[in-house]
Assembly symmetry: C2
């Protein structure tokens, strides 16, 4: 029957009830040494009787540690978080944070206000650590984060620079896998629709495509730059069809774009995979349900979240973890 839900129970009350000094009580709570077993038990009992829970704020003020880390998504578009990708990351992050005493603050830094806030967190240590996702190449926050003395780990890598601490999926390797598969199945006129080239994932996947074709000695010039969106994928496919009507395969930088591209291909009367093989990237749920089901590259998103959290914890503990690149794998379905 712990207690009424009324006022906060303080350490002093616990100490008094247990008949010990406040410092003794404090020591017990943080199980520090130098307390006799007798007192220890007395305090424990008092804690139970009173239903004492330390005041996190007061503790934070005294220890100069906030007790919370931030998961930040920086983007100009408030809707990005709608991408199932982030929910998965969040689940992963949460799963390791749950083992600690740290709270998870979600910062959708989408408006100017949001960005400013994140910047302040970074500058004035309003959190014990920050996980930063999905940076566009020229996002000023990236540099601010990198320079901050708050521990920061990046999720994914911005296009223009390599942060000190990050965890990323092996985008390049995955793209290469996908393209090699296209080569292996006899395709010779392989095009690509890239993602945004100011995002690391966009450029890395494009490189993977180039890698594979270079090794195979095939022409890698059938490329159109996309923007990761379904409509963008459709437009890109139209352009590709116009410029390279002879193509017999296309590696697309994201499933969303691939879906748009497949629609355009079908409208143009090309069969999939008969006339044109298609491979996407990300393995979103939808990929299983397209017509035909979409071959794609799958990345361990929850692991990414977990590893980000672990790396941040290590950083906070004063260690110097090395960046991590998580493996991707090809999921072959009917579209290729």
């Amino acid at each position: 029957m712990t207690d009424q839900l009324k006022r906060q129970v303080t350490l002093d009350e616990v100490a008094e009830r247990a008949g010990v000094s406040r410092s003794a009580a404090s020591r017990v709570i943080n199980n520090a040494p130098h307390v006799s077993k007798a007192k220890r038990d007395a305090v424990q009992r008092a804690v139970n009787d009173l239903g004492y829970v330390p005041n996190a704020t007061a503790r934070a003020l005294a220890t100069q540690q906030v007790g919370a880390v931030v998961l930040a998504i920086s983007s100009d578009n408030p809707q990005v978080f709608t991408d199932p990708f982030f929910a998965d990351v969040a689940v992963g992050v949460n799963s390791v944070l749950e083992e600690t005493e740290l709270e998870l603050i979600l910062q959708l830094a989408t408006s100017t206000r949001g960005q400013t806030r994140l910047e302040q967190v970074l500058r004035t240590r309003q959190a014990d650590g920050v996980m930063l996702m999905s940076m566009h190449g020229d996002d000023p926050l990236a540099q601010i984060a990198e320079d901050s003395d708050v521990p920061v780990v990046f999720g994914g890598t911005p296009a223009n620079f390599e942060p000190r601490y990050y965890v990323d999926a092996d985008n390049r390797g995955g793209a290469r896998l996908a393209t090699e598969h296209l080569v292996a199945t006899g395709r010779t006129r392989i095009a690509t629709i890239t993602g945004r080239m100011d995002e690391g994932a966009g450029t890395a996947r494009y490189r993977g495509y180039q890698d594979a074709l270079a090794v195979a000695g095939l022409d890698a010039s059938r490329v159109v730059y996309g923007d990761f969106s379904e409509e963008g994928g459709g437009r890109a496919m139209e352009q590709l069809l116009a410029e390279h009507p002879d193509l017999d395969a296309v590696f697309v930088g994201s499933d969303q774009m691939a879906i748009g591209a497949m629609r355009v291909l079908k409208d143009a009367g090309r069969t999939i995979p008969g006339d044109v093989a298609v491979v996407g990237f990300n393995d979103v749920v939808l990929a299983r349900h397209t017509e035909p089901p979409l071959s794609t590259v799958s990345q361990p998103i929850q692991s990414l979240g977990r590893e980000m959290a672990r790396m941040l914890l290590a950083l906070i503990a004063g260690e110097s973890p090395t960046p991590l690149i998580l493996p991707t794998r090809l999921v072959r379905r009917a579209s290729s």
Copy 2:
């Protein structure tokens, strides 16, 4: 050129720099009255020069307000948050919180530890308010939340009781809409697959189905209880087919289940919507891409998040908002 990223700048430093007392500086920061224009400006200047940002923790301790609210998902399954539904809610919540000084803490209360933590938040006011989502009927947290003196707003309603403050989608009305539509298009042997009956959404949608059939004077006994999952939907459909082979329509309590059900129907050789019309609920992205595209009931999820946040803000401000039920609408596609 605000400042180095070094140590925290304190109010005292600002005060000294501005040549005023700390209390004066504090008043300016919180733009309280009783400060001369001259001092006011001096302080402002000092703030800019020094790049002062108040220490949130210290402020929280002094004001007894945390400066953060919690968005909590209570569930036994860590993966629920993976449901795009919650990401949308989060985006909605964030959009209104962004206008305030409040942080958003994400609590995936999925393990025992998580639940305990949420319970402590509720009991010992570790947050200024809590938004609680997706409660199963017998979740003890629901009652704890309702009894807590921390402001709490529920997202959706548990099956067994009606919280004081909540915002929900009009599940019953939407289900009725869907079923009426089935009736209007000439179906007469209309079955249903329900969601979990220990969740408010499950029971409410079932009631809506009953409502519509009662008005139409049709038999409402073709019912199987599902669990909101795709496989569950498939199993339920099999059972339905076995028990009521004559059915010519089915209202399914969620799109996920509907997808499973459609698969089973097709496997059983029934055409959709020729032999059997199908309507789902939620309007997930996938619904647009099934074969045939799935008719469904759409709910304004981001609005739900927004309204939850608004209601919580009102509660924190000491007002007594009334519960909100958000309208749903039928999205007719090819499956019905």
